[in-house]
Amino acid sequence: MSSEPELSILEAIRSALFDEMGRDERVMVLGMDVGQLGGVFRVTRGLMERFGPERVVDTPLAEGSIVGASLGLAIGGMVPVAEIQFLGFTHQAFHQIGPQLGRYRFRSRGRFNAQVTIRAPFGGGVRTPEFHPDAIEAQFAQEPGVKIVCPAFPDDAKGLLLEAIRDPDPVLYLEPQRLYRVIRGPVPAGDHTVPFGSSRLVREGKDVVLIAWSAAVHMCLAAADQLAQEGVAASVLDLRTLIPLDVAGLIAAVEKSGKAVVVHEAPLTGGFGAEIVATIQQEAFGSLDAPIRRVAARDTPYPPGSLEDYFLPTVARVVAAARATVEY
């Protein structure tokens, strides 16, 4: 592994885009400001110079048409990677994502499929304005036909993005904006893909398992460090993809200790954590020794950056929930 380059999550995403556009000339990138500027986070910087303005396209300011046109582009033989500037603005394209891209294979009985990747940064902790941090991934879990992917590490960022672009079905690829530059790690060179529906146990511990995805995984790792000092050994499970969900991996991780905490940045009520809890208690009821606690954002609108620490889950809340679960 040491021979592998150390990349940030942002660099890993960019390198995957360079690789795949070089490998497959049908792949194109479209979205607001993705070309000349390289995107508001510079994720796509350099792509236009390298692949030209036909394959790296600055679009008008209209999310619905970015997503809807991507379906048409895919039917026409292209492989679009659409960027929505922030996940919160997928709401403007909501009627196109699930009901159109997600159902087109089904509606056409397999004649057409939407090989489209929708990339979008999301998540809090960086004092962004309203809408920009919204973690609304759970809303897409009710859109059968769509896959939801949320890497937390540079190697998965690359492996899951290559998998997403090559997946014949529409994939929502969620990028943890807070981690873009702060999390660095080794990234396998060359053609590295990570299959969907495979969770990853990123830390082993016998007392309790902390379950999360995207940026919350790192909050769980920090909590696990603190818990270790208290003598509590916590596992951390990174789901990596929500749809498809790795039910087997999830259950296996929970059965080790019979105790679990689910952590996410989205508001509590109706968050995907509820699905995780419901799935566990259905599949592993007998081995549960304590209620599964959820540590999530509050059921309020996202507040201004200066207040977001009161809104979001914190390491302290995760530690407290884990402690209460272990001591139950």
Binding site: M28, E54, R55, V57, T59, P60, A62, G64, S65, V67, G68, A69, S70, L71, G72, L73, A74, I75, G76, G77, M78, P80, H95, Q96, P99, Q100, R105, F106, R107, S108, R109, G110, R111, F112, N113, P144, G145, K147, D167, P168, D169, G197, I243, P244, L245, V247, A248
Partner: protein, 345 residues
């Protein structure tokens, strides 16, 4: 407004359509009316779910479709353009399967350049823009013709797709079928614009209004738009002014919101009668030919309907097909449960 074919069947200047094309169009128009009648009958018998007739809009739908090359061009329909879909290569059997609830048999066959019906109003417009964009990027000769109603023109999807198509200068022909109603909502409640075609200027491409009950004019305007698109000159918006003679669909009763005088007046401009007069005057068509054509059409419809009736109905397994290319373990489990529950006990 562009007009060529008078109500009395006389043409201004030379016909843009050849005699063969006119006869083919007339036959398709007659087929469309016969399909309307049959599917409404089947719906009344409970064998069809909901059906929205084409009645009154045949010239707009067929005149535009005749200007397309099925081997080269794509059609992106809304939900009331099945004559265009048939002309473009959809088998009549598949069309009947659509309405008789057999969605596997309804699928667009491989090779036919046609997207499925769209029941989310306006949602097909960005798809069409994207498909036309792909043709341009891949240097594939061809245009995309997209159909939508005047009601759809109020949706954000219309605006976003039109603006994008203008910026990318894609080979798109936008066929706005203005039949003056969106369910019960009349045109003047839908927009205050004098002409919807005027919106094209706001997107940087030309827009035209045409008498949508005039087969020849619709054909000519569409053919021009196709040539422009093929020449790389980008999109065109064509507003076909027509009238929805029938109900919105089989669960609608127009008497609740429009008076029959309006309908009677519109029926004076029936699109088929005009073509018939023209074709007979020009010696392309005769009463005898029409009788023969109607007989053929009747048996084609019989055959299509019977073929669908004889097909096995899709079962529980069908709802798990084509969800994703491959089913997740959870979906496999749901599928197993569904098949088990569906077993006759």
């Amino acid at each position: 407004m562009q007009e060529l074919l008078g109500v009395d069947g006389t043409v201004r200047g030379p016909s843009p359509m050849s005699p063969d094309q006119v006869v083919a169009a007339l036959r398709l128009m007659l087929l469309s009316r016969a399909v309307d009648d049959r599917l409404i009958k089947l719906q009344r018998m409970g064998r069809v779910g909901v059906y929205g007739p084409v009645h009154g809009q045949e010239a707009a739908v067929i005149g535009s479709a005749m200007a397309l090359d099925p081997q080269r061009d794509w059609i992106v329909p809304a939900s009331r353009e099945h004559p265009a879909m048939l002309r473009h290569g959809l088998p009549l059997k598949n069309m009947f399967a659509t309405y008789m609830g057999n969605f596997d048999a309804a699928a667009v066959p491989a090779g036919v350049r046609l997207l499925p019906r769209q029941q989310s109003i306006g949602a097909q417009l960005p798809h069409a823009a994207g498909l036309a964009w792909a043709l341009k990027l891949r240097r594939t000769p061809g245009v995309v013709a997209v159909y939508f109603g005047e009601g759809a023109s109020s949706e954000g999807d219309f605006h976003e797709a039109s603006n994008l198509a203008g910026v990318m200068r894609v080979p798109l022909v936008m066929l706005l079928i203005n039949n003056h109603y969106a369910i019960s909502t009349p045109l003047h409640r839908q927009t205050a614009a004098a002409q919807l075609a005027a919106r094209a200027e706001g997107y940087g491409f030309p827009g035209f209004v045409v008498d949508g009950n005039d087969l020849l004019a619709v054909y000519a305007v569409t053919a021009d738009a196709v040539s422009r698109a093929l020449a790389g000159d980008g999109p065109t918006l064509i507003e076909c002014l027509t009238y929805r003679m029938g109900f919105h669909n089989t669960s609608d009763n127009p008497k609740e919101y429009r008076d029959s005088a309006e309908v009677d007046e519109a029926s004076q401009r029936d699109p088929i009668e005009r073509v018939r007069r023209f074709a007979i005057r020009e010696g392309m068509w005769s009463v005898a030919q029409e009788a023969a054509a109607l007989e053929e059409i009747r048996s084609e419809i019989e055959t299509a309907q019977r073929q669908v009736e004889e097909l096995p109905r899709p079962g529980a397994a069908a709802i798990f097909e084509h969800v994703y290319e491959t089913l997740s373990p959870r979906l496999q489990q749901q599928r197993a449960e569904a098949l088990d529950e569906a077993r006759p006990r």
